[in-house]
Chain length 215, copies 2
């Protein structure tokens, strides 16, 4: 009973959990900076640890390996993106949900351009056979695709989407388009007009999915 931890801990002292959470965040933030500057391969674990105000070895110690760190970073940003998406889409379904998702992508990339770019770079890296978050990337795409397919099915149920389209096929095309569009924007942001591409896509979605005369 005698000891009271809080009485002897000053402002800077944190609990163990707080310490590690804070240093994890600092290192992931540093990793975002460095990946944007130098890419994933020319960023070193020592650079990440030191920019986070820690030692050169901490990143390795905490995340196990370079791939492990990027996997954690991918999951962290994906969480934010998913939060942004679900907040925007809410419980919309059908064409509305698909169009709102396009807006959500644009919003996320505008509000968090650094995180958005890094997420793209990481997903692109999943193409490599040696990638450690290949499976993570596959899972994310799979989940997004089944979400979209569900939007389409509910749109058909409520009568806003034609019944003669295959929900899974539409979802596949939609996800492929988004994947390609974000990749092209990432590689050359100047020659790619995100906003007008989105407007075109929305028009396209309505034209090909909406039931005749509806909307």
């Amino acid at each position: 009973m005698a000891t009271d931890p809080q009485s002897v801990r000053n402002d800077t002292a944190l609990t163990q959990a707080e310490r590690s959470a804070a240093s994890d965040r600092a290192m992931l933030d540093a990793a975002i900076d460095l990946v944007l500057e130098h890419g994933t391969d020319k960023t070193t674990l020592a650079m990440i640890g030191e920019r986070a105000g820690k030692s050169r070895g901490l990143a390795t110690y905490r995340f196990g390996s370079k791939g492990g760190l990027y996997d954690a970073l991918c999951k962290s940003i994906s969480r934010d993106w998913l939060a942004c998406l679900t907040e925007r889409v809410g419980d919309k379904v059908g064409i509305d949900a698909m169009c709102t998702a396009l807006d959500a992508i644009h919003d996320f990339v505008t509000r968090s351009p650094r995180e958005g770019r890094v997420l793209q770079i990481l997903h692109a890296g999943a193409a490599s056979p040696s990638s450690e978050f290949r499976q993570t990337s596959i899972d994310i795409h799979g989940r997004q695709q089944s979400d979209v397919a569900e939007w389409v099915r509910r749109g058909q149920a409520e009568g806003s989407i034609r019944n003669d389209v295959d929900a899974d096929a539409v979802a596949g095309q939609y996800i492929a388009y988004i994947t390609g569009m974000t990749h092209l924007w990432l590689v050359s942001p100047d020659t790619f007009n995100f906003k007008s591409a989105n407007a075109d896509m929305k028009r396209q979605l309505r034209a090909s999915l909406a039931v005749q005369g509806a909307q």
Copy 2:
């Protein structure tokens, strides 16, 4: 005319140019193997030189750097792909050209799966800020996109494509879709049905671009 080099050269002796061309090819072939096995980053220049039957230092000497080698490899495979594409498409225009190009992709990936996969991996790598063939990748996409836009315009000129669509916007969407589709197929070939995705896309192209009542 006095000297006749060919008379004194035996079977195994090659001219300098032939020698370097042969070793370049051998190293690019070795690089394809190794990139498929280990990815770009875990493949070493020494491995490439040695699998090509040469020394560990030749790849660096000839291509200057790891990035330089991958840039050369990207250009080499792109040449084959472009040849395959132009052979298939010929002087088709409009929706025909766009659908044939989808078939050409499927053909190329079926006939040269190794080259196709490596090309995808390299293009994905262009996402990194440190990539040395970033510009190469941008140029290739730009050229493809303007080719597609030209197909659309000629299709409009010959009356097979509606006049109220914007050729550049259509080309952008088409290229974005192809980019995403090939990426998704690369990352998880098992969960992605290339053939049926192509069929869906063709239907989609005809539905959204064809003049009412034509075809």
